[in-house]
């Protein structure tokens, strides 16, 4: 019969429920919180520290690189202009004006100057009156007079002049480089127009991605080249003059969202001024593109950081659950041990109390008995006493003696309960032992229609135990089982054994088909003086003694029951009781050693 799984209440069932799920939920939340605080905060601080440092560092590096690119490009442009100026100076200083006035000679020199690339659009020799002496180029400018042109005045004053972009007689944006030769009080000017498209491609020859653009503007903010996206040559430069406060620098320009000329709302801008002419080289790029790689690296770092946070969170949750489960198990064991300790303490205290009470009651009982005897003797010595009175008194005294005897049995039980002694261990063949015990009880059971059903596992090895104590335990349980059938005849008492290899011992089950024990009573069933029997039929000590005895033998006992169906006791006994069990035996309460037949069986049903 397997009752425990149905509705039974094992006495030593773990009491983890007493702590409640709320307790563990609170503990769980605390653990999670502490784990996360201890792991996430340092990670978060270190992660964000590294991120912020790397972010700033990469920004500075990119801006430095951008600034270097601008400076490098300025040098290239200035070098180009110096070289072209030097070309013209070389020509005018190494060739006489007469030689250069010859169109054939000038053409030959022009073609030599443009041999590497098409640097110049045209080339002209002009006298100090502003008239063309010779001209090689695509425009019809031979008869033009430049005496009123701004650049003519500048070159006459300075000797070398590079103009801003202007349209001039050809009505197309261009700029010129002009140099002079002085012989006596005469001056000749060699003037060349730089190829605008070539110059533009030179200026824009900076690798600045898909959003970058480069342009030159003069001091008035007029574009000297056509930018890639915003504006046109000789138009107004897209960035305000105020932005360029220093000789060179780099900054971030936040564009006005309403201005359609700005394709990119936030731009990284590097700038520097050319020495001659005073043009401003501006290199700008969409901020997002300029910092794309760094931003991607930062994003990757942030993703790694968040992934780490997530992993820590998951690990914390899993590890905390694992820990809580371990704590639950430990608590269960602890609760069980506590309960057993309380039970043992209760028994010990009650044992002490019982001994004292029994002794104190025994003396008055002894006196009552002797008083009864004195009265009996007195009645015998009074022949004149009325027979009816004599009979009545004699019956009353017999009843008194009978009740004293009953009290005496109770005090004897109390004294047995409190008695301590060492168990005598010897090898026990459990199955044979059980059959012997049952043999003694069969007569009593059959008399009230109860039969025994045995289910004994074969080959259970003999093990050391105290057969006398075991006998008392089994007799007590069997007597209880018989008593449980009161008012319910024709039942069965099943006794089984099986090896419990996980605990290296044997399990004995004693089940009955009696009336069962209610859940409110089953928790108290091993408590001393707890009984469900009628007054005068049980002291409530039998199962307490059984419990203590089994504990003393290093074993365990549990009970389960279903009202109306029956009760099952399970006893576990170890194959190898430890020495501690022997010592514990001295501290538990046991039945006195007596034989089966003499004991008359302890039939207290607790």
């Amino acid at each position: 019969m397997e009752l425990e799984q149905e509705a039974g209440v094992p006495i030593n069932q773990p009491h983890a429920k007493k702590r409640g799920e709320e307790h563990y939920s609170k503990l769980y939340r605390k653990f999670i919180f502490l784990t996360l605080i201890c792991s996430l905060v340092p990670l978060f601080l270190v992660g964000w520290g590294i991120y912020a440092y790397y972010s700033g560092f990469s920004k500075i590096r990119i801006m430095n690189y951008f600034e270097n690119q601008v400076e490098h490009h300025r040098e290239i442009i200035e070098l180009f202009l110096r070289e072209r100026t030097s070309d013209l100076q070389l020509v005018i200083l190494t060739h006489s004006p007469d030689y250069l006035q010859n169109p054939g000679n000038l053409r030959r020199i022009f073609s030599i100057m443009n041999q590497g690339s098409s640097f110049f659009t045209d080339l002209g020799l002009i006298d100090d009156k502003g008239n063309h002496l010779a001209y090689i180029g695509p425009y019809d400018l031979m008869d033009k007079n430049y005496s009123q042109a701004f650049w003519f005045k500048e070159v006459m004053n300075k000797g070398i002049y590079i103009s801003d972009m202007f349209t001039g007689f050809r009505k197309a944006p261009h700029f010129i480089i002009a140099v002079t030769r002085i012989e006596g009080n005469r001056k000749w000017i060699l003037r060349a127009s730089v190829d605008t498209e070539y110059f533009r491609s030179l200026v824009e020859n900076v690798k600045i991605g898909a959003s970058g653009e480069v342009y030159l503007s003069n001091q008035e903010g007029i574009l000297q080249t056509t930018p890639r996206f915003s504006g046109k040559i000789m138009g107004k430069a897209p960035l305000p003059i105020e932005f360029f406060s220093k000789e060179s620098g780099i900054g971030i320009y936040e564009a006005d969202n309403n201005n359609p000329s700005h394709r990119f709302p936030r731009q990284l801008v590097g700038y520097t001024w050319l020495k001659n002419p005073r043009w401003k080289l501006v290199v700008k790029q969409d901020y997002a593109e300029a910092f794309r790689d760094a931003n991607q690296a930062n994003r990757a770092a942030l993703i790694s950081l968040h992934l780490s946070l997530l992993i820590i969170l998951v690990i914390s949750v899993i590890s905390t659950r694992y820990m809580i489960n371990i704590i639950k198990k430990q608590d269960s064991v602890s609760d069980l041990l506590n309960k057993q300790l309380v039970q043992a303490g209760k028994m010990a205290s009650l044992g002490e109390l019982s001994a004292g009470v029994a002794h104190e009651i025994n003396n008055p009982l002894a006196i009552i008995l002797t008083e009864c005897q004195v009265m009996k003797d007195t009645i015998d010595d009074a022949p004149s006493l009325n027979n009816e009175v004599r009979t009545e008194l004699t019956a009353s005294l017999s009843q008194t003696e009978s009740q004293v005897h009953r009290c005496s049995l109770i005090t004897q039980s109390l004294l047995k309960f409190s008695r301590r002694s060492k168990s005598q261990r010897e090898m026990v063949n459990l199955n044979a032992f059980l059959e012997e015990v049952i043999g003694h009880m069969e007569g009593k059971a059959k008399g009230i229609g109860i039969q025994f059903a045995l289910d004994l596992e074969k080959d259970i090895p003999s093990f050391p135990s105290d057969p006398s104590l075991l006998q008392q335990v089994l007799l007590n349980l069997i007597n209880n089982a018989i008593d449980a059938h009161e008012g319910k005849p024709y039942g069965t008492i099943s006794i089984g054994t099986r090896t419990d290899s996980s605990r290296h011992g044997v399990e004995i089950t004693v089940s009955d088909t009696g009336s069962g024990i209610s859940p409110e009573n089953i928790e108290k069933i091993f408590d001393p003086f707890f009984t469900t029997k009628a007054v005068g039929k049980g002291t409530g000590l039998g199962l307490s003694i059984t419990y203590s005895t089994i504990k003393g033998l290093g074993g365990d006992i549990s009970v389960s029951s279903i009202i109306g169906k029956g009760t099952q006791f399970k006893i576990f006994l170890p194959f190898r009781p430890s020495d501690n069990d022997q010592e514990n035996q001295e501290n538990v309460i046991i039945q006195p050693q007596s034989s089966i037949l003499k004991s008359g069986a302890n039939n207290e049903k607790t």
Binding site: N362, A366, L369, T370, E371, T411
Partner: protein
């Protein structure tokens, strides 16, 4: 015929007095004392066949009294009465030379039987001695 002389030692006066009355009626010569010291004194004054000795008494307890008695009169038979009901205390008494022990509350008939047995042995030992 000489009555068996019994010394009854018990601090429970009512019990001791009742027992004395009963045993006296049943043909015993009973002297009662209520503590161990008086019992030891009485041993020096008179000769007894059987001593009924309570274990738990104030002052000199049963075991101590028994030791003193056995020192003075090794052949007197002692029946121990105890309210403890412990086998150990009874056994201890018997190891010190007591005839047997009974647990309170004891029926007078049972006690008388035990006393008679003790007396018979005393007589046998007396003849041998």
């Amino acid at each position: 015929m000489k009555k068996p002389r019994i010394l009854l030692v018990d601090d429970e006066m009512a019990f001791a007095d009742n027992l004395m009355k009963i045993l006296s009626k049943r043909g015993y010569d009973v002297i009662v004392v209520y503590n161990g010291a008086d019992a030891v004194s009485m041993i020096g004054e008179k000769e007894f066949d059987v001593i009924i000795l309570d274990m738990k008494m104030p002052g000199m307890n049963g075991i101590a009294t028994l030791k003193e008695i056995k020192k003075k009169t090794p052949f007197v038979e002692v029946v121990i009465l105890t309210g403890h009901g412990s086998v150990e205390s009874g056994i201890e008494g018997m190891q010190l030379g007591a005839f047997d022990f009974l647990m309170k509350p004891v029926k007078v008939d049972d006690l008388q039987e035990k006393v008679s047995e003790a007396y018979r042995r005393k007589l046998v030992q007396g003849k041998r001695g």
